[in-house]
């Protein structure tokens, strides 16, 4: 009998991502935000989360994926991190999945660039891969900005 773990999943472009349920404070539909001039590319804006000002980070920009279509409104995966509450902007919220630890594999050696830095590992699910987001790295936008360009997500896409 192997251990199971729960992941909150979401879609970004063609990929399925997951964040451990314990780290997620809540998931929300699109929220209005105030953009922050001069800030890092990854910071899409600030949202008012019941009186708390929370930065919204655009995962598409961080993974150097194409920008979302104008009419496609991102959703918020709100994380509770050591540095406070942060929202990740994703394309679509998925279900909470229960996965077997036995299916976990560390990130492939072939993974390069931004993806290597932001993906902690992969769960091999039937028919698709679940990429585990390294949330600690993801919210550290200043460090992410330093990583060279050139996305290599293709290596793990099906």
């Amino acid at each position: 009998m192997t251990q199971t773990r729960q992941y909150c999943t979401f879609r970004l472009d063609r990929y399925l991502f997951g964040v451990e349920v314990e780290q997620v404070q809540e998931v929300l539909r699109y929220m209005d935000m105030t953009c922050v001039p001069l800030a890092s590319q990854a910071v899409k804006g600030l949202i008012n989360l019941r009186g708390q000002i929370v930065p919204a980070l655009d995962l598409r920009r961080m993974f150097q994926l194409e920008a979302r279509a104008e009419d496609q409104r991102p959703m918020n995966v709100v994380l509770l991190t050591a540095d406070g509450v942060v929202s990740l902007l994703v394309d679509e919220i998925g279900e909470v999945m229960e996965v077997q630890e036995a299916d976990f594999e560390p990130k492939p050696e072939t993974l390069r660039g931004v993806a290597r830095d932001l993906v902690a590992g992969v769960f091999k699910l039937p028919g698709q891969l679940l990429l585990v987001l390294d949330t600690a790295r993801a919210v550290d936008v200043n460090a992410v900005a330093e990583i060279g360009s050139g996305t290599q997500l293709k290596g793990v896409a099906k």
Binding site: V36, P37, L38, S40, N48, L57, D83, V139
Partner: protein, 761 residues
């Protein structure tokens, strides 16, 4: 009480610690006072009581080492009190060392709930040796006896001070008071009526009834909640426009109550600045002794109150500044005598409220800042070119000491090097929205002036729009609002080569466009579009910030920015507005710095650490003007006070000197073309004269030029040294050879003799 209950014991120990820390803080100050005036029986009694209380309680808890150290200290104090010994500097130092040791022991007890292993034998030896002097044959009295002796000294103090009861008086136990004869017994009875059985706590029961201790965490939470309430109130007020009268009345009431609550909660967090100043007499005394100097400290405005977060933030910078004053400001006594000053240096600290801000001044009558050496040092370090140094005003030069790693101290002491850490002082003060300025007269004095906001949590702000988004400007930085209608824009805003200035009542005000600062995709501004200019103060300088719209003022709750946005630099925080939207709060000094409005910030940006191109490094603002038929000249804009156009008829004569009246002053005029080109003064082709009013050596002089072309922001390379008097050299600006005017030489050449108006700063 249940001694076996560990929780109860912990609580008791905690109480003991809090009280002892408070008493020890007071002790530092009292000992320094006692050293100045050893006959001050009140201070002596209070010092004695504190040590005695700690000793007694230490015995109760079984802290034997703490008991031993305080016991010898108490013995020494009793000898002093009884007049058997005189308080010398040596004894005062030993007693201060005792205070430090006790503090150290208490902090160990605080963290481990056990006693320190250190024995402090050296200190005990020193204290007993000092108390044994002169009267070696008197054995230290046992602790029991001391306990009853303790309040004796307080009695005479009561007699002296009976008119206004002071905290020291309650220590008198009624038993002793009745033991005293006649009048003194009565007076001590009246003033000491309450504290029966409280002698050892040193606390008046009246104070205890009216005050309660509240944890800082509770106050912080209250403040946060009030912040939320203010936001909710702002939101509610937005609905009142359309609703019925009853709702309007209710929200009005909510508005008032919120405002009052906010103020009251804010008050609970206020602490007098004296709570950090009280440590300074001790710091100065120790430092002065160490440096062999005599220093007197005067403090004014101890009771000036500030929010506790601000108090915390300014503690270190202030300590640093006064250490600097003692170490580098105040000279050695012999030097002071030689300079005709009193051998005892004087440091004055003053705090006062002014316009919603707190001003703190630290002045010393020491050697001042040697401007030339500061400049020299900056040139050596490559922070400044020799030419920039020569042109730099005194005040700008003083600001050089705030550059990182800048020190002119000839010898580095273990205390501080003048300038080492001054950058940290500046950064820390600016971080809380304050500013720091320095003035100095070489050989005479140095004044450091700090301005800080009262509180950081809730501030009034001006809402402006730029690029479709709302931004908040803290009102503390706001000087005035100017709206320039389109017909005035072309006339009064001169906007060439990116450096824009506006003539505001004759002053040249640098203009900064917010949309450019924020790198927003700016729409094309037509040259004569109306401008909304928000005139702001950053440090001692002002500049105009152009925004799309000026909206409203609002009380805003400042929220810190997330870590992801800390590096941006132009935002001080964010807030939630009445409509629920997030708005960014502009950091005015940050905006000024980004815009490179001021020459001093420009210098900072070319410090070796900053990686900037050499070309921009030397960029400066120059005023271009015509002089004579062909002459094209420039002078640094920072030397220019105002640009004026005066009718020729206003030129008057004072002896052989042409002068004009200017703001009630007589300002000499120098006709530059006549002076430098030996041309006749321009014949009346124009009825008006173009006058560049310059401030030179604290005086005003009017340079009459033939035409004013431009203001340029350019990197200049001086091609050669000036071939003639009055010219520093020549540069190429806008593809044309331009001569740089040497104002000083020109003024000298003009031989102005008439009484000369002092410049208004």
């Amino acid at each position: 009480m249940d001694m076996d209950n560990p929780e109860e014991m912990d609580e008791l120990i905690n109480e003991f610690l809090i009280e002892s820390y408070e008493n020890l803080d007071r002790l530092d100050q009292e000992l320094v006072e006692l050293e100045k005036d050893p006959s001050n029986a009140v201070s002596m009694a209070s010092v004695f009581r504190t040590i005695h209380t700690i000793k007694g309680t230490a015995g109760f808890f079984g802290f034997t080492r703490l008991g031993a150290v305080t016991h010898v200290g108490e013995h020494l104090l009793s000898r002093l009190r009884d007049g058997e010994l005189h308080l010398t500097a040596e004894i005062a130092s030993a007693l201060l060392a005792l205070v430090d040791a006790v503090r150290q022991m208490l902090s160990v007890i605080e963290s481990t709930h056990k006693e320190d292993a250190a024995e402090y034998t050296d200190l005990i030896d020193l204290l007993s040796r000092l108390s044994a002097k002169h009267a070696a044959n008197i054995a230290p009295p046992p602790a029991q006896e001391l306990a009853t002796q303790a309040p004796l000294t307080s009695a005479p103090a009561v007699q002296v001070e009976a008119a206004k009861p002071i905290p020291a008086t309650p220590a008198v136990t009624p038993a002793l008071a009745t033991g005293l004869a006649g009048k003194s017994a009565v007076s001590s009875m009246t003033s000491a009526a309450a504290p029966v059985g409280q002698a050892d706590t040193g606390k008046s029961s009246v104070a205890a009834e009216n005050n309660i201790r509240v944890g800082v965490g509770v106050l912080d939470k209250l403040m946060n909640l009030v912040g939320e309430l203010v936001l909710a109130r702002n939101q509610v007020l937005q609905f009142t426009m359309h609703e019925d009268a009853a709702f309007a009345a209710t929200s009005h009431r909510l508005n008032l109550v919120t405002a009052e609550l906010q103020e009251s909660v804010m008050k609970t967090r206020m602490q007098p600045i004296g709570s950090i100043w009280s440590k300074f007499p001790r710091v100065i005394r120790d430092l002065a002794t160490q440096c062999g100097k005599q220093v007197e400290l005067l403090m004014e405005g101890n009771e000036t109150e500030l929010d506790r977060t601000i108090i915390e933030a300014i503690k270190d910078p202030l300590t640093h500044l006064i250490r600097n004053s003692v170490d580098h400001g105040i000279e050695l006594p012999e030097l002071r005598k030689a300079a005709g000053k009193s051998p005892c240096g004087r440091i004055r600290m003053r705090a006062y409220h002014e316009g919603g801000q707190v001003n703190i001044e630290i002045s010393d009558d020491g050697g001042g800042i040697p401007v030339e050496r500061v400049k020299q040092k900056a040139i050596e370090k490559g922070v400044l070119t020799a030419e920039q140094g020569a042109r730099m005003s005194e005040r700008e030069a003083f600001h050089l000491i705030f550059l990182p790693g800048f020190s002119t101290a000839e010898k580095l002491t273990n205390v501080s090097g003048r300038g080492v850490g001054m950058d940290v002082v500046k950064t820390n003060i600016e971080r809380i929205g304050g500013s720091v300025d320095v003035y100095s007269r070489f050989g005479q004095s140095t004044d450091i002036r700090i301005k800080i906001p009262l509180t950081l949590a809730i501030v009034p702000g001006l809402i402006v729009t730029c690029g479709g988004d709302r931004y908040v400007i803290p009102q503390a930085s706001l000087l005035e609002l100017v709206r320039l209608e389109h017909d005035k824009v072309g006339e009064r805003v001169e906007q060439i080569h990116g450096a824009t200035v506006y003539r505001l009542r004759g002053n040249l005000l640098p203009i900064v466009y917010l949309e450019r600062i924020l790198e927003l995709t700016s729409r094309q501004r037509s040259a004569c579009e109306a401008l909304n200019v928000v005139v702001l103060q950053a440090g001692e300088q002002s500049f105009g910030l152009v925004v799309d719209e000026v909206n409203d003022t609002e009380e805003i709750v400042v929220k810190a920015l997330a870590k992801q946005l800390k590096g941006v630099g132009v935002f001080a925080g964010a807030t939630i507005r009445g409509d629920g939207k997030v708005a960014l709060i502009l950091d005015v000094p940050g905006v000024a710095q980004r815009a490179e409005v001021f020459s001093s910030t420009r210098i900072q940006s070319i410090a070796p650490t900053a990686t900037r191109e050499a070309a921009t490094a030397q960029a400066q603002e120059l005023l271009l003007f015509a002089c004579g038929e062909q002459g094209r000249m420039a002078l640094p804009l920072n030397a220019v006070a105002r640009l004026e156009e005066i009718p020729r008829a206003q030129v008057e004569r004072l002896g052989s000197q042409e002068v004009m009246q200017y703001r009630g002053q007589i300002v000499p005029l120098v006709f530059l073309s006549k002076l430098l080109f030996k041309e006749a003064a321009p014949v009346s082709t124009a009825a008006a004269l173009q006058v560049v009013v310059c401030s030179h050596a604290e005086r005003l002089v009017g340079l009459v030029v033939d035409n004013i072309f431009d203001i340029v922001h350019e990197a200049v390379v001086v091609r050669r040294e000036g071939g003639r008097v009055g010219v520093t050299g020549s540069v190429v600006i806008q593809g044309r050879v331009t001569e740089l005017l040497d104002i000083e030489a020109a003024v000298r050449l003009a031989q102005i003799e008439a009484p000369w108006a002092k410049a208004v700063a």
